[in-house]
Symmetry: D4
Subunit: 251 residues, 8 copies
């Protein structure tokens, strides 16, 4: 029930069309369902936030296409289809043309499609990866940031072997309003960056590496236990979540 | 906001005291908060269910006493204070006399206090333990069941060493409307009981034993992986939860 | 040894055909083997319960077909073949026509076949999933519930993103005699539903999601540690078990 | 080496006091050590950030007192002594009077002492706990936020049992510039809050609860796997870290 | 129901005192409960096996004393009270004098009391420990072996640092009919012994050591994954179980 | 250095051909290498034990064939090639004809080849599985037992669903000199069998099942924590190890 | 910024071309980035160390080829491409001919390519494996050692079954300046070797084996908990890391 | 059997006092036991290595004193008593005066006593800790290094907060022949140091910190997965092991 409907109900009460008992009965039901969350949605819209995302794995191409179409039918912010395989991408674009496809290679499917990108946001976001193997997760993060209006800067391969690139980007780091660190293995880059910048740092552990990297668990734990105060962490390989976190933090 | 308040609001709209805009504004807020859950609470009351429970560990005696008093101020079902130490028990009984104290010895504190027990329920509940070391958890389960109106039968020490007691209780097992199995170590008793009875079986892994019992994790996993179809499981040492589960299942 | 055989033995004792020593010897053996469990089976039959289920993975098509045929040879309740691949399904139906096939897509094989469904049961069962990726597990659960006589209502995709569907189903939730919540990721839907309804809630963690979902372990732990009192849990992806649990709980 | 020293060195080069070879030799060493990080420190100062924190456990009272004194000797932001026991608190205050003591009860020691609080910051921060057992961690978080200039609002006990308090605080939630959710057990409150607000949400898993709560691991995993997009997480019981994360995010 | 009772029942059938229907009814019940397991017990008695053991932790002194007394009331093999504290030992000996007390220091309580030891068995059992810290577990193992009739040889401290003692005992090792290896840390001694002797080897991981010993988990896993073919393993610190395993293997 | 060589050396010393210094030098080296372990091998031979086994996975067909050939070149007990794929089997049989091939289906490769089986041993060994999915592991166990001279009896599918087969085999169980229990899921069958028989019981957890079976970890832990005293356990899916353990135990 | 540039800057200061302010500004930036680490690199060069390694998995062939080419463009030590698949190998060799290819079979890709091997180093390194299944990891280790100038000796298959090979190599072991032990399963070989030699021992756990080997975790834990004092450990399957560790230790 | 005994045996053979058969018989036994390992011990002595260490926890004071006395009775290298409590220290010094006591505070007991320190070794060893809480482990490491002849340099508190101390020690780092990094939490300091120095780096994870530090597991995993090539790791809190590792590496 949206506001016009609610206003109509109240008008009907005022005009006597609807009795108080019936109105109470209707009202007891609906607000939880609709008004409460409409308010939330409105709030979202005001912030020009993340919008809606459809996680493709496990859905049929038709399913993906249908949900995307439905979401685009309502005016609003960006709509994303994440980790989609070629068939899912094709089906969704067929029904809803105009989406931007980014090949990420993350999570099997490997593509993110974005419709109706948000208006540009001026804040500067830096996405840094420890190795080239972290690029798929970082690429998804960048694509989601772009869909939400940012123009993030991606600096890859800044681990111990390539730390000079991080240093070469010290100005960018100093200027960043938020930093996303994408790292697997022991994830030490997050602590390093967290110690250098005072901006918010979102750490994304990745499942790269082998053996004692334990599919990202080692990086995850290390980031959570980081001695760099105020680092926050999202789930393994969750570049999408990191982008959403940044979208919450910055205007 | 309860129904009278809502009705008053609608009356005010009808009488013109309140304009639609202001009414919409108020209504957008409240229902999520009050009406939606009042309905739920009402539903609870109709079922004469578990009531409210206060988990004592980490609360001051005064805190415990205050919350219990507050809960008893509103008419309703049973009010429980769980895993309370002597000071917490004393403080709560001082402010709210009449509670029934059961020494369980579980979770440090070791006592459960119950006020305002539910009316008697006829269903037969059997609580079985594998060993005497499982008795604290089982005792808490029994006390909660009693507070919710049941008269459960407790049969202890039915593991491999004492399985004859289980067999001696085959009639009780056959007659039970629900069975709670409390077992540590490898938790095999749950599978055994689950294979014998067709009644609902709630398995409670306990942290008894040592070494490879891994503080209840072994029993927990074994119960979850049980080949006895339709067994359900609650958390380690959660006799309280098992009693609540039974209270949900039975009239 | 069934009852007629036992009666014959006793008649033979009475008529002197069999000496007490020999009778004692025979009796010491048999009851454990046959009578004790025959009693159990009888009990099962009285409840028109779950019947027998054959877990297909790791068995040859011929194996599956043979066991199903054998089970159907004895009068009784429903017979299920779970997680069967196309060859197993074909072989079983070839030998035992008349089974109902449900494509679930769960567990590799992906089909459940049910023979001799139980008579209709009036109780209302609601199966709710957090996401569409949980549908295979939920579908298996629904198919097993149907084979055991229920007409469950399936409400999909009620996670945070689609919670309005849950709210739209508040009446169904209020009316349900039992609810099965199927959820992966952090499994929070189970706590939410457990807090709303007073009916028994069986939570099924699923292995959907990636990274920190840890193949269902996260949802499993979260459901076990849920602060919604009286929630019970079955193993990861065990929609079959959840259906059996419901069949134990409801008439 | 600070800027004056550097400028002197260059002057010496220009005046011929110092030869290029010697200057190169000196410069090759120092900047890594001093200039690079002085820059970082300066950056910190500009942001009026978290300042310096001393983790008390494992340090002698004298040790604590000495480090605090040393940190206060240099002009700058707030100085914190965390998880200090009474002896550590007394020793530190004796040497450095004027600190504000907050009894948190977290981590054994149980007190946080703050000197030289930061100037007031206008942003609104909400700290929400699922249960009263989460209060020690939340209290530490609040104290750190206060030391860094915020006036956070603490809303306790908003889990399933007390969710009406969260709802009663919907306005505060809507107005918050950042939200810290402190929850143990299954940590579902974080997902719930993350779905309601578009503001940044920092989730702090706590080690409250027993059994399947696994000392905070369950809440940690659930928060990391949350389906509420853009939630970020800090380590178990790390209320300090959550406060620092907020201090990074907000002006 | 023991054999005389059964024989009486059959006599009553033969004499017409008991009708077949009633006899069937009685027989359907009892054998599962009594005869089936009486048979097992008889089997046990024939082997003069392990007898009955009471695990003391979590039981009151009176509880311990009562169970021991009850077990000794029935003729049979050895009766053991394991991991008993001084009060439990005293109470049990007070009610049932004549038990042999062995101070083991394992599992808190630290004493094993044995009544009615089994007749001597000639087989040679060797109990080897890797370090002196493994002695409590080994001592319990030795005491249980002695109660079951063996005269085991204990060779302590044969880890890498003291492997010369193992070598000095090569003859004993060559002559042993069974070997129990008690080792913590990385448990490599089990593999070494398993490679030297062809006799059955039972490995007992202990929770000695610190850090990466992970309370016995490392030794447990290492023993299970041992490349010495035919090694078998019992639970962590389970010297009692290892003794029982040997008692099963040897005449 | 074998005995003839050693004797020659001593003869050379006696005859003066070899000086004491040189002899000491040679002797300091060799015994560790050869004599010590020759003694072990001799010991093995005396027991007509397990012989030598080649684990095929990760080896080339040529590699497998070569090692087997080498082992058969020395007189002795059985030689086994385990978990071999068809190419490995073919290559080995080509170079060393006469091996007995058993298709087990375990571990990818799926075949066990045995050469030079040991003379028949009279002891009775029972191999019991909980489900048909445990058959590959059990089949490997049986094949190894046969190669070492036993004529084991295999009883399959004795879990809860098929426990009547176990009961039908009670005589075989009572007569067995050793029992191997092969079970996945929650592994409760091992506890059950351990409680019925006084013979040695070797439990083999298998990686069958899904979800909370955790690839055999659940069964492994449950077997280690079993309340049936004296149960011993081998590694997950290690039917080979269980057979070797039995070969150590029985004459 | 290299030394000439720095010297030029200082010359410009001396000559007045550059003002102190501008010079300070430039200097504050650069040293962290360039000089600090140039110093480190120089240090590396002096030691003729490991050089640079490119981890191939997750990189395109072109990516691999480009990075290798870039690294070779700068004079220096060896350049390695690790775990490369055929396409990656071909692309890299096409752009940078002259690399030595070693088929290791480790990590999917299976080849290590080395360019510009270091001058010969005289130290003796022994690489020992417990089984043939450990050879891929050991082979990678050997190839890296060779690229860094060593001529390591590889002794394979020295586990319990083949310990005579280790003993046959006692002289080599006694002469080794460093030993790398590569072992899966329970990893006991590392403890054994660590107890025999006083040279540095680097243990590499491998993911060989099945079941309770837990993909190398068991060997890893056992090596970390080894009672052989002074053993050090690298990550699972990390033969590359072990070789680098040796290169750090030896001249 | 030492060399004189062996020589006597050979003399007896030569003189005819001992027949070849008897000599063979004696020789088959002894060398494994005595000569083989005597050789190892000799090797140790030549290297003036770690000597012998007695791990005090779990031993009685008398036990500790006796073993130390026994070890000192044989000429050789240093003898250490580790993690001893005051009673153990007193007893050992009473029987064997002259030991140097270092209060470490690690592992409960908290003291290391060293007798008969090794001659001075010139190599430079640097021990670096991330925080002051890592000092107990580092202190034990330093004391063991000193007992083995080194004069290590301890630099404490070089984590992110105090990294300037590491930088202030860059010269020491550059000059070190080996570095021990002692760090808890996320252990990133090891990666950082490993990237700066080309010397061997031994990383010691410590159990400091709380929550997601998981008692040292996080640091352990991070160090094992470090992207700094050639880092090696010892067990959690194993400062003793790290010192021994260094003693193996350096002359």
């Amino acid at each position: 029930m949206d506001e016009p409907t609610l206003r109509q109900l109240l008008d009907d009460v005022r005009s006597g069309v609807l009795g108080p008992d019936e109105a109470v009965s209707r009202l007891r039901r609906l607000p939880f369902a609709d008004l409460g969350f409409a308010r939330v949605d409105h709030h979202r819209a005001l912030r020009q936030g993340v919008g809606e995302a459809v996680y493709a794995p496990g859905k049929t191409p038709g399913h993906c296409a249908g949900i995307v179409e439905e979401l685009l039918a309502v005016p609003g912010g960006p709509v994303l289809l994440t980790r989609a395989d070629p068939d899912q991408v094709a089906a969704a674009l067929d029904r809803s043309p105009g989406g931007t496809v980014t090949a990420t290679g993350v999570g099997g499917g490997g593509a993110l499609v974005a419709w109706r990108p948000a208006p540009a946001r001026p804040a500067r976001v830096l996405v840094i990866t420890a190795g080239t193997a972290d690029l798929p997760v970082a690429t998804e993060c960048v694509a989601v940031l772009e869909a939400t209006g940012f123009r993030p800067l991606l600096v890859a391969d800044c681990g111990v072997a390539g730390v000079h690139r991080l240093l070469a980007s010290l100005d960018d780091l100093a200027d960043a309003d938020a930093v996303v660190v994408v790292a697997g293995m022991e994830g030490a880059l997050a602590s390093l960056v967290g110690g250098i910048t005072g901006a918010p740092v979102v750490a994304v552990p990745t499942s790269t590496g082998y053996g004692a990297a334990f599919e990202g668990v080692t990086a995850l734990l290390a980031m959570l236990a980081s001695c760099a105060a105020g680092l926050t962490v999202v789930g393994i390989d969750n570049g999408f979540g990191a982008a959403c976190a940044v979208a919450r933090m910055l205007p």
